[in-house]
Symmetry: C2
Subunit: 350 residues, 2 copies
Amino acid sequence: MKFEAITIKDIARALKLSVSTVSKALRGSHEISEETKNNVLAYAREHNYKPNPIAQSLKRGRSKSIGVIVCNIDNNFFSQVINGIESVARQKDYNVIITQSRESYEREVANSEHLSSRSVDGLIISLSAETRNVDHLVKLHEKGLPIVFFDRVTDEIPTHMVIADNYKGAYEATRHLLQQGYRRIAHITSSGSLSITLERLEGYKRALKDAGIEPDPRYIKFCQHGGMIPEETCQALTEVLALPDRPDALFTASDRLSTTTLSLLRKLPVAVPQEIGLVGFTNSISAEIFNPSLTSVVQPALEMGQIVTDMLIQLIESKRPVTQFQKRVLETELKIRDSSRREGGADGGN
Amino acid sequence: MKFEAITIKDIARALKLSVSTVSKALRGSHEISEETKNNVLAYAREHNYKPNPIAQSLKRGRSKSIGVIVCNIDNNFFSQVINGIESVARQKDYNVIITQSRESYEREVANSEHLSSRSVDGLIISLSAETRNVDHLVKLHEKGLPIVFFDRVTDEIPTHMVIADNYKGAYEATRHLLQQGYRRIAHITSSGSLSITLERLEGYKRALKDAGIEPDPRYIKFCQHGGMIPEETCQALTEVLALPDRPDALFTASDRLSTTTLSLLRKLPVAVPQEIGLVGFTNSISAEIFNPSLTSVVQPALEMGQIVTDMLIQLIESKRPVTQFQKRVLETELKIRDSSRREGGADGGN
DNA sequence: TTTTTTTACGAAAACGTTTGCGGCAGGGGG
DNA sequence: CCCCCTGCCGCAAACGTTTTCGTAAAAAAA
């Protein structure tokens, strides 16, 4: 099967012009007479001429496409970010190629190399939970491939990045739990090698200290695979619940971790928020119909995608090497719902 | 900023060979001596040569990429399908370009044209709720672009397609509600122009008839925008609840419709499943932590994506025109949870 | 009129590949 | 000794564009 399209050559032949003339006419060059231009344009429109983007890419050395690597697409946070990326990219006529690392370092490396060899003009990436080493990205970056980061970032590559104010978000989440009267607040989080993990951990610790509570390392559980493996989350939860001083609240640091934890708590069963209060990081639009509805730190995911894409395109289209890099920090929002309402009971129904 | 890669020319120059020799050596041609081949391969590996896919595309007339149009990426059903698409595509070395119609006919048309002009080798599409006319796709298909459908399909284009057994899924869902003792079962569904809507509607009606109940058109509400506009769902729900014979159960026909409905019912509030039973179509992995946990028809989304991609690639790579088309129908699974358990009360906690 | 400038277009190279074909060796058969 | 075949390689065209440069003819200036 072949998909045949009309080319500049066809137009040239039909109008008895040269290819170069047609090309120039199509691009509105001043060195072509109005009459010829009109003829060409009319013929092109009539026959629905579309320039072959592959030929253009080859010629220009740019593909007008950008690669995206996220850990998972079926996660509201990332799909919302992608919505943002797509909207800006489309508007500036870039294609978006999406790949998933699934929190695997190996897949992240493979994807980044594959994308660069597919000649994307730039890369938007949020690191995988397994990633401890960004040499694969450094190498591409040094070869001249523009790269920008969002959410899970690294300082090892000098470039633009966008993150949420994870420190503040975590601080507010923890403080909220404290204000509700919870005291033994455990923290279930992602891999310790992730920037977001450290920032959220700091916010959590600071809030505890500000309330006169010394953070207890036994209350802090890392999940190396960021929740991709349910068993891991299950084990972390089991361990923390088995502690002599069983926590009376949990602060979970990522989307999947939060939903998995809630699910596990229900199965045990542990009453939320009575026995244990819960606050998560999540952008799930369904958080309010969870049982109980989930108090959560929500990130401006769409905006994050838009900003990071703007940054990348700026890098791509910049004439001269960019040396000033910005790190945008976006505000989060704490949505207070039932899972952390101690005196609550406002839970509708049954 | 430029991203410079090594080319065949560079290898040729370094090894004092011609480009054609290098090219043939790289592809293992028999007309090149073993020695030369080894030299070239060694040099290529050493300098990390990667063929420029854009040049290859131009030469071969194929881009090794496939376009996908879904209504929404932040919807577990579609993101799971995309997971399936991506896994097969990657394995066969195709790129995937994802676009969203957001249930808009206009965006669907624009996206399909944009993708074809970006010279994808084929198209995977699930129609938007607004789409009543598929001329834009017929046109592309007639020009030779391979197209396959999943989920929301059309008979107007002779090609492969994959769907779930919507009729049976809806039948079982409705029968389940009947078995639970519900009698006045309303149906909130998508646009009537969608294949899935009609099939699910038929299953719903048949189940009612088999139970000796005549379907009541007032109990059937269509949402033209497929739930993209919350107000629309809200109005449908309000109308159906205001009926003199208020329904005692709801069967919602799509992912977003189901979550929105559950959310609205909780706000009113209406007790689920006591006052009103609810069964939805959804692939949300969080359905079991909804309040109440949501009984749902779940589709084999991942498998659907894999199969449809296999079909497309088969079409793309087929030497001779394909004339035999298949329509795969996949089984759904009814996950029974609390939202439809009449004598239930097994709802954890509070 | 001659010279210069302007206008309008064409020729050709280039982007990185692939591929049909032609050619030059050397070896074997006649 | 000649011819042909085979093995190995290079030339050149092609994919569809863009862009530089050259060059006619027409218009303006001399």
